[in-house]
């Protein structure tokens, strides 16, 4: 069922890179797991239940200022892998060359 090539594609989508040897192992474990969850395919569930409205609805709070500006800045910035003052340093994304 699952091939190393497919797992590699999934890994790329999930921003993960696996060495070739591990791709094979993941693929074979996937087969066992998919064979188990695949029993869902034999289920004949009426369309009505498939399209039912979810029992919970989203609740939004009113816009507002939950706290004073800046009170968390230092705590959050302290977690940055790299910082420039209060700014988070990242690689340049757009190149000009």
């Amino acid at each position: 069922m699952a091939t190393a090539e497919e797992v590699k594609k999934l890994a790329a989508l999930a921003r993960i890179s696996l060495p070739d040897g591990e791709l094979e192992k993941f693929a074979s474990e996937f087969d066992a797991i998919l064979a188990y969850v695949g029993q869902l395919e034999s289920l004949d569930i009426a369309q009505s239940s498939a399209k039912e409205k979810p029992p919970l609805r989203n609740v939004m709070r009113a816009d507002g200022a939950p706290h004073e500006g800046g009170v968390y800045t230092e705590k959050l910035a302290a977690q940055f892998p790299a910082r420039d003052g209060d700014a988070l340093s990242v690689k340049q994304v757009i190149r000009h060359d």
Partner: protein, 477 residues
């Protein structure tokens, strides 16, 4: 006399008010036990230094307010490593967050602090709460205090081992597919997964957001109730929390109609465990409760549905861990390299497996066959339970199919997943569920605890506490 660390919350609270000992003495007893046994059990990833100000404040509150002080005041608790305590590391058992310090208190932590509770330390867990043994922790497995060659269950295995070995009076865990109830069963504790939305998840590191709930692991049903009541309630910081009375109120019967889905127990359940379950049911019958056969046919597909929906949510939730803003960060040539290197080296095997599985079931060719089908099965399951609660007050089955297994025994992923076969249904339906000790089975000369599992209708936690107490009484506990 019972050692102080071996007391329950209710016993310790009473004794503190009677001035039999001080908050400091209770803390010291737990901290000493934790320091002595943690090297062997690996229940705690970190044992916190005593917070002298908090201990003094708790003592003063008890001295001043007496019986008006909250029962949790001065009680040392253990917290699962995915629940944020401001200023403390919260690693979720992962290298990815090895050095991540919480920038705020989880709502449950805020509530416990307001009640005067103390925090002994953060407990080991399967990475990002994915696992049923605590073997998937990046910091080594936790051992079961009843037999250190065996697992304590998971993912809240550290919390379970800490309470079962009397290193903490009680603990909080989180439950996505059984992660509170299954370790409670394997370590002889009471574990509660509250109704979906009953307890705020603000400050809980998310795994499967339509499934996760925080709940207590405790030595008695009474303690589980005390902790639950202290942490429950609507929270503006978690839009999924529900108001009291959202679901129809149900009166608590004097004699319960206990629904038993016997068709689910015909195969795959350990014979000794099955015999103990049947004996527990007989004791309840002798106490005047009625046993009813019920059918929950979709339960046979519940675990399959769970292992589609949960990885889908995991892959989405863990996408935020990208090595850019916080957590494990490895740098490469390009921005894409930064993501790839950070995520690949930050996550453990099981986490990677579930992210890949989730990515698969959500991908365009497969979302109909897997995700939508699983979601539909979930709705049918919920309806089956609602129907069953028309004729039964509560649904009972064993918490796990077998007693605690040996470390390393379940090395293939699927056999580990099958541990959740009974517990995952309550996460899918959202309904509250409780595991209560129902005795022991003997394996290799060791007495291993096993648990009985009750599911109640939404917001009927009280029903669980009343019947759970009846089970304790019937066992003479």
């Amino acid at each position: 006399m019972t050692k102080l660390n071996e007391l329950t919350i209710a016993e310790a609270a009473r004794a503190l008010r009677a001035r039999e000992f001080t908050v400091q003495a209770l803390w010291d007893a737990c901290a000493a036990a934790a320091a002595a046994r943690n090297p062997e059990l690996n229940a705690f990833l970190e044992i916190f230094d005593a917070d002298d100000a908090a201990i003094a404040a708790a003592q003063k509150r008890i001295d001043t307010d007496g019986s008006a002080a909250p029962l949790l005041c001065g009680i040392p608790l253990a917290m699962k490593d995915n629940i944020l305590i401001e200023g403390k590391i919260a690693s979720a058992g992962s290298r990815m967050l090895e050095n991540y310090r919480a920038t705020y208190d989880a709502t449950v932590v805020k509530k416990l602090k307001e009640a005067g509770a103390l925090f002994l330390g953060r407990t080991n867990m399967d990475e990002f709460a994915m696992g049923s043994s605590t073997e998937h922790s990046a910091y080594g497995p936790t051992k079961n205090p009843h037999d250190t060659h065996r697992v304590p269950g998971g993912s809240s295995g550290g919390s379970a081992a800490a309470v079962a070995a009397h290193l903490a009076i009680a603990a909080l865990g989180s439950d996505t597919g059984g992660s509170i109830r299954q370790p409670a069963a394997h370590t002889g504790l009471v574990g509660l997964k509250p109704t979906y939305g009953a307890v705020s998840r603000s400050g809980l590191i998310a795994m499967g957001s339509s499934l996760d709930q925080i709940g207590p692991l405790a030595k008695t049903v009474e303690d589980a109730r005390l902790l639950y009541e202290a942490i429950a309630g609507r929270d503006p910081l978690d839009a999924t929390t529900i108001p009291a009375g959202l679901y129809p109120a149900r009166s608590i019967p004097e004699k319960f109609r206990i629904g038993v889905p016997r068709h689910l127990l015909e195969k795959g359940v350990d014979a000794d465990l099955r015999a103990a379950f049947d004996a527990s049911l007989e004791r309840l019958k002798d106490a005047g409760h009625t046993l009813i056969d019920i059918e929950l046919p979709m339960s046979a597909y519940a675990l399959a549905a769970y292992y589609v929906l949960m990885p889908a949510e995991v892959s989405t939730n863990l996408a935020r861990l990208d090595g850019i803003r916080y957590g494990h960060a490895v740098r490469g040539e390009t921005l894409l390299d930064d993501y790839l290197l950070s995520r690949t080296s930050g996550f453990g095997k099981e986490t990677l497996r579930r992210i890949l599985l989730g990515t698969f079931v959500l991908s365009s060719g497969y979302i109909d066959a897997y995700y939508y089908k699983a979601d539909a099965a979930r709705r049918v399951l919920r309806r089956e339970y609602e129907k069953a609660f028309g004729k039964a007050d509560i649904v009972a089955f064993p918490t796990t199919p077998s007693p605690a297994f040996a470390l390393g025994e379940k090395s293939d992923p699927l056999s580990m997943y099958l541990e959740d076969i009974f517990t995952a249904t309550a996460n899918l339906t959202g309904m509250p569920a409780l595991s209560v000790p129902m005795g022991f089975v003997e394996r290799a000369g060791k007495q291993l605890p096993i648990g009985m599992h009750f599911t109640a209708p939404n917001q009927a936690e009280d029903t669980l506490f009343v019947l759970g107490t009846a089970v304790e009484k019937a066992r003479g506990a």
